[in-house]
Amino acid sequence: MNGRAPDGAVPYARVVTGYCLGWLVAANAVGLWLGVVLLWPAAGDALAPFTFGRWAPLHLNWQLYGWCALPLVGALLAWCFDPRHPQVRWHAHAAFGAWSLALLLGGAGWLGGTTSGKLFLDWHGWTRPLLPGAMHVLWALLAAHTWWRWRGLGNGGRAARVAALAMLLAVPTVLHWSAGREVYPAVNPDSGGATGAALLGSTLGLVTIFLLLPAFLGVGGHRAWRTTAAALAASWGVFAAIDHGHASHHAWGQIAGLGSLLVWTVWLPWFWLGHAWPDGVRPWLRAAIVWWALLVASGWVTFLPGVSEAWKFTHSLVGHAHLAMAGLVTSLNAVILIVLSRRPAPRGVWAGWQAGCAVFVAAMLGLGAAEAERAGELFRSAPWTQALLALRLAGGAAMALASFHWWNENRKA
């Protein structure tokens, strides 16, 4: 390869893909290790004091703030950055570098036992301001580039960017605040888990981002924007109308509110498929659509009274989380990276990843379904539980290999 970026690629595409895939590989490596020590706990004892509970935040947070978030940051850069600026690659490096430094230092802190005790909000003590600090660096770069390209923007573009920057400015403060131990979301009193309103709100946040994605990436489409925006506004209206307190999954309002998401299992794919995606995107997009439909449907079913009681606290939720992160989000993130770089994923990555993810999710759903009645067998490592955890490890290994292959090919490109 001659190293020249393909037509249509952003000039800092390799920077974005390098960091994103790097964090995917790192988070997968930790996940793989967690899979190993669940299967053979004695292996973990060899690394004490770095035990399972110390490693777990690295896997969770590196996946969320590393792999899941950074491609979206890449999309944001594509929307705001001035591609003609002579230092644009260096600026992308600065943004991703600051973010990565925060994740690295955060990892050292969690491994050292500095954590808030809140899942996905482990930023505590000296690690607490790290990511907000990195977000400020990113924001400053976005603002600077918006300023530099100000004259080339139309009124709509200017207004949209100013509004987006104003909203983004609040994100670091909100993250810093929400990581505090004194802040805790509403709890479903009958399950000890999230309320229907919380699940609906967080998923609608994702739907909003997913709808904006083609615009951020500059992918043209022919779908009715106004109708879609109206549907989204209606969904947010439902969210606003239902109880936001400590509501039970037995409350019909919570059930119906969460059920309203089912509309988006059809609407979102319809919207996505109405855009002119570049080569190499469609397989990932189709996979994302399948995972999305499974995610919303299973999420709603497992929220229902009777089902929730059987699934809560079991490995089914691990399966569900991977359905979301490894299935849906990863497929969409692959779409983002391919659009930004105009390079399809290397051969075998799609199949390896999707197969690994399917095996992983199936193994966890299977274990969770049996585990509710036979927890003792899980606790004492009965052979059938070991077999399912081994299957999970195999699925995880397939995903880790696929991600490493993609990262390595990107490095060599």
């Binding site: 020590v37 669940l38 706990p41 973990g44 004892d45 004490a48 004091p49 035990t51 399972f52 509970g53 110390r54 490693w55 777990a56 935040p57 050292a108 491994l111 050292g112 036992g113 500095t114 954590t115 808030s116 005790g117 809140k118 899942l119 505590h124 003590g125 000296w126 607490r128 301001p129 790290l130 600090g133 400020h136 660096v137 400053a140 400015l169 403060t173 810093h176 605040w177 505090g180 131990r181 004194e182 805790y184 709890v187 009193p189 009958d190 000890g192 888990g193 009681e309 809560k312 606290f313 079991t314 490995h315 939720l317 036979r374 927890a375 003792g376 606790f379 004492r380 490592s381 009965a382």
Partner: protein, 624 residues
């Protein structure tokens, strides 16, 4: 280039000193001190105050960035005067408002004006001093400001008086820019390599670490009455601080003019590290902490101004003050608020980072890195003296990530939860911790009531050697928490023992009422196999009480082959009692329950245990 007027140059040099002093006085006595005290009246809680401080910091970052933009459009001396005026107005606003919204506006205004002022002043200093004695001018201005703020009458004044005083100082300083020289002057005493991209990153990192440490230490001193009085109580202490600040800052300025920036930053980080370690009780005495702190702060405060001033570029100054100054302060204060101390691990990392950034070679860098790694991953002694054992144990529970495998939530409407894990506490009690530790997985049992389900002895043994006690357990071994001198293990045991203490009586009633639902029992061979896995470690394969763990128990299990039952009342049908003991264990004894077993397994085990019982004639059925 025309020859500079010597008198004008001297006047300009002193104007620069006065401008630096005015800026630092405004920052030290008002922005960092009096404003917070004033705002506390309207925002008394830590989260509220944090919001205001965030507004101030964000204003500072925006003000610094804004100055870069304005400096392209407005002559810098004029902008400097405007910024001083803005500072005066912001302080006046803070003195006038009384509501939280007013303080929020004042915080943003103070940040904006001060952020703009620092960057603008930084671009003026090289020309104002004609490149001669730049470091000394900065040292003198900085030292004078610190000294003035430590004058007892100023220090002890009310926050409102200090605020008005700062406003007057800023207002008066508006005349100073007129006396500043504007001709460019050559940079001296600083190689270009320190201003390349890599050099800039290095120095921003160094200054970030220093500000971070200082802000954290300052917050700790401010919020610990004994430390506060040891540092700032009494006229003698304050005059001593003033003298130390002035002397150290002037010495720092002198050294900077001779190219000693690296050595000075090194001395600052060492002094601040010693101060932080002393404040945390890791080194003896508080008096040395005060001297280390004042010296370290003086050293780095001069470097913080001198590094960007030597280059006189607005972008560089904005980067330094935004990242190292404002963000560094936020990091330090945030850390101190969360942890109420400066962790030794952080101190070691900061020292190692500064050493690496300054390019120290030889034994220093690996030694610092080694120390950092050792402290980072060594036993965490957070709050060892200050917190009760249970509170510390909860911190250990959080730090070790127990939440990733254990829940602490009994679902009140799920019968199996209530039977297995004990009565559900009230919702408020269950979600009342900071933070609640509800968890979302059960790769091990729920721990809501573990204190009345497991004895401390059993928990200790299980934590040290989990698979010896519970064969097949997926739990990691935590023997390292119980090493000599490490109190984390015992604290964790104490915390676990505290869980469910309030439901003890209810649990006993629940246990007494329990009957296995299953009529069918596990087949005898399967029950025997289950016994060998779960029970043999203590009771031995034949129930003789000779399992491998038995010798480590305070009460050795009885020999069922020859002795009577210890816990089956005389005349009672053994099987239901045995089933209850197998499921729920024996309170206060090392015999733990197996709540998670299915009823058929429990009944099967009870029958197997009964089959092993073969006491000597005349001894069956006693209630020992």
């Amino acid at each position: 280039m025309r020859e500079a007027d010597p008198q004008a140059s001297v006047g300009s040099w002193w104007s620069a000193v006065a401008a630096i002093a005015a800026t630092y006085v405004y920052f030290l006595i008002f922005a960092e001190f009096a404003f917070i005290e004033l705002a506390r009246t309207a925002a008394p809680t830590t989260p509220e105050l944090r919001q205001l401080m965030t507004g101030l910091g964000a204003g500072g970052v925006v003000g610094a960035a804004g100055a870069v933009w304005w400096l392209r459009r407005i002559e810098r001396r004029r902008l400097l005067a405007i910024c001083f005026g803005g500072c005066a107005a912001a302080a006046g606003l803070a003195a006038a408002v009384g509501a939280k919204a007013g303080y929020a506006a004042a915080a943003a205004a103070v940040g904006l004006a001060l952020g703009g002022l620092t960057v603008t002043l930084s671009t003026c200093l090289r020309a104002a001093t004609a490149g001669r004695g730049l470091g000394l001018a900065i040292g003198l201005g900085t030292g004078a400001a610190y000294a003035l703020c430590n004058v007892p009458a100023v220090f002890a004044a009310s926050p409102r008086a200090q605020t008005l005083g700062a406003a007057v100082v800023a207002l008066a300083a508006m005349v100073l820019p007129r006396g500043l020289r504007t001709e460019t002057a050559p940079a001296t005493a600083s190689p270009d390599s320190e201003y390349t991209r890599a050099g800039t990153i290095r120095w921003v990192a160094v200054l970030l670490a220093l500000v971070w440490m200082d802000s954290a230490a300052f917050y700790i001193i401010q919020h610990a009455p004994d430390l506060k009085s040891a540092t700032w109580a009494g006229a003698t202490a304050l005059w001593g601080n003033a003298g130390m600040h002035l002397g150290a800052a002037v010495a720092a300025g002198w050294l900077l003019d001779r190219g000693g920036r690296g050595a000075l930053a090194g001395a600052a980080v060492v002094a601040l590290a010693l101060a932080c370690l002393t404040l945390g009780g890791h080194l003896p005495g508080t008096v040395p902490a005060r001297w280390f702190y004042t010296a370290g702060v003086s050293f780095y405060s001069v470097v913080l101004v001198e590094y960007p001033a030597r280059r006189a570029r607005a972008g560089l100054a904005a980067l330094v003050f935004a990242v190292a100054g404002w963000i560094g302060s936020a990091l330090g204060i945030g850390m101190a608020q969360d942890l109420a101390q400066v962790p030794p691990a952080f101190v070691a990392i900061a020292v190692a980072a500064v050493a690496a950034a300054l390019g120290w070679r030889g034994r220093v860098r690996p030694a610092a890195a080694g120390l950092a790694a050792a402290l980072l991953f060594a036993g965490d002694s957070r709050g060892a003296e200050a917190d009760p054992l249970v509170a510390r144990g909860r911190e250990v529970y959080i730090a070790e990530g127990c939440i990733h495998c254990h829940s602490q939530y009994v679902r009140p409407k799920v019968a199996a939860d209530v039977v297995n894990w004990g009565p559900a506490p009230t919702f408020a009690a269950g979600t009342g911790g900071l933070p609640p530790l509800l968890g979302n997985r059960r790769q091990g049992p729920d721990l809501t009531n573990v204190g009345n389900r497991r004895s401390p002895e059993w928990n200790r043994l299980h934590l040290i050697t989990p698979r010896a006690v519970s064969p097949g357990s997926r739990m990691p071994a935590y023997a390292h928490l119980f090493r000599e001198g490490d109190g984390r293990g015992e604290a964790l045991v104490a915390y676990l023992a505290s869980l469910g203490a309030e439901t003890q009586a209810e649990r006993q009633t629940q246990i007494a009422a329990w009957r296995p639902a299953a009529r069918e029992a596990l087949a005898a061979p399967a029950a025997a196999a289950l016994f060998r896995q779960l029970c043999a470690p203590c009771h031995g394969p034949d129930g003789r009480g000779d399992g491998p763990v038995a010798g480590r128990l305070s009460l050795r299990p009885g020999d069922w082959r020859t002795g009577p039952w210890r816990h089956v009342p005389a005349g009672a049908e053994p099987e239901p009692v045995l089933a209850r003991i197998i499921k729920f264990g024996l309170t206060g004894l090392p015999m733990a329950g197996h709540e998670y077993l299915r009823d058929a397994e429990i009944v099967g085990l009870a029958r197997h245990v009964r089959s092993l019982h073969n006491p000597a004639p005349g001894q069956a059925g006693t209630a020992r």
